[in-house]
Amino acid sequence: MGRKLTAFLVAGGLVALGGAAIAHHSFAMFDQENPIELAGAVQEFKFTSPHTFILLKVSKDGKDVVWNLEGASPSALVRDGWSSKTIKPGDELVMKIDPLRSGAPGGAWNVKNTKTKEGKAITVTH
């Protein structure tokens, strides 16, 4: 056990994990087998514990729908270099999310599958 732990730490400790990985509650309500892609603008970024939320306004067929997307905790995001200022209202993102099984505009997001509209990883500058 000691050696395994040491190896784990040497390898860099906690790697970037998706929201489901360290959720304090089940994320089974989100369909992780069939993710979908959303492109839109951040309406709000709630950097709250135990879960962060991105409200993403997506325009489709002339209609705006705001998606409520639940993610990892602030502590987990900080380990990925994020802060409450990493994204802000108006930022345009392309996200691969795990949608609510009902089809309603809700889902789970994670850092790895969140990119700028150009398809680049979010640059963490702080």
Binding site: F47, P74, S83, S84, S102, G103, A104
Partner: protein, 281 residues
């Protein structure tokens, strides 16, 4: 003579080595152990216990926030508690939580004094390690607190903990009447906590709020009484279990004993179910 001096030195070395190096010299800090409760009683739920609830508090608000306060009171009068986020289980923020409506414990350690209050399971960390203020912090209900111990009577023992707290999250109020703090979240709270000189069973907290909703700093003293018990009882308070309220849209709804939604006031509209019409197939 030389032998006696050597012996005394030996005694000193022995004492030093056997006692080790305790991290906290308790003789230098006041005894704030045990359970503290609001001296004026939990029923006195107004911020300044010396004055009546509501407008009687006479908070020195600027006109814009006085108008907001009066609007909050009018809402409360008809049973709408939107101005009080604690009714939706949002934690009491600073300074409100220091009313200690529910019991409090203070744990003094060398680098940090922990203030634990049953209300909202609040934990305050008051850093007394001499740290500088960070450039910024995420606002939180408890805020970020830096403290300094003072020996005001110079008897070699600290008697006062002076605390400054910044980065307090809003919106929030001083008490359940809805006396508002400014929405800019720039409030600074200064506290001076010390035992009452004439009655060590009482702990006084002189709290000064500096806030842009106020026309001047507002100082109110909260008092706490030590519970005489070797093993005080601590109660776990789970607001979400007790509250049975859900916010849907702009409305607060209740949950009945059968778990179903119930209106909170006469004539309250039922919740908007637009997303059910869209997704059913």
């Amino acid at each position: 003579m030389r032998g006696s001096i050597s012996l005394f030195m030996l005694i000193a070395v022995l004492c030093a080595s056997l006692t080790g190096a305790p991290a906290l010299d308790e003789t230098r800090y006041p005894d704030w152990k045990g359970q503290w409760v609001r001296a004026d009683g939990a029923e006195a739920a107004q911020w300044d216990a010396r004055k009546p609830w509501g407008l009687g508090q006479q908070p020195p608000l600027i006109s814009e926030y006085q108008a907001l306060f009066e609007a909050n009171l009018k809402q409360l009068a008809v049973g709408v508690k939107a101005s009080d986020p604690t009714t939706r289980c949002i934690p009491s923020a600073m300074p409100r939580v220091m009313m200690a409506i529910h019991p409090m414990e203070i744990v003094v350690m060398p680098d940090t004094t922990y203030i634990m209050i049953e209300t909202s399971s609040t934990l305050r960390r008051v850093f007394t390690d001499g740290r500088a203020w960070p450039k910024e912090r995420e606002p939180s209900y408890a805020g970020y607190s830096v403290g300094q111990w003072e020996d005001t009577d110079r008897d070699g023992r600290f008697d006062t903990l002076a605390i400054e707290t910044r980065w307090i999250k809003g919106p929030h109020s001083y008490d359940d009447s809805g006396i508002p703090l400014h929405q800019d979240e720039q409030a600074v709270i200064k506290e001076r906590i010390s035992l009452d000189r004439s009655d060590p069973r009482l702990l006084r907290n002189e709290i000064t709020t500096i806030d842009n909703a106020l026309s001047r700093p507002w100082t109110v003293t909260q008092s706490y009484r030590r519970v005489v018990s070797a093993q005080p009882v601590w109660t776990e308070r789970i607001c979400t279990e007790d509250s049975q309220m859900i916010r849907i849209g702009e409305e607060d709804y209740g949950l009945g004993s059968d778990g179903l939604l119930v209106p909170m006031r006469k004539g309250q509209p039922s919740p908007d179910l637009r997303y059910f019409n869209q997704t059913r197939n």
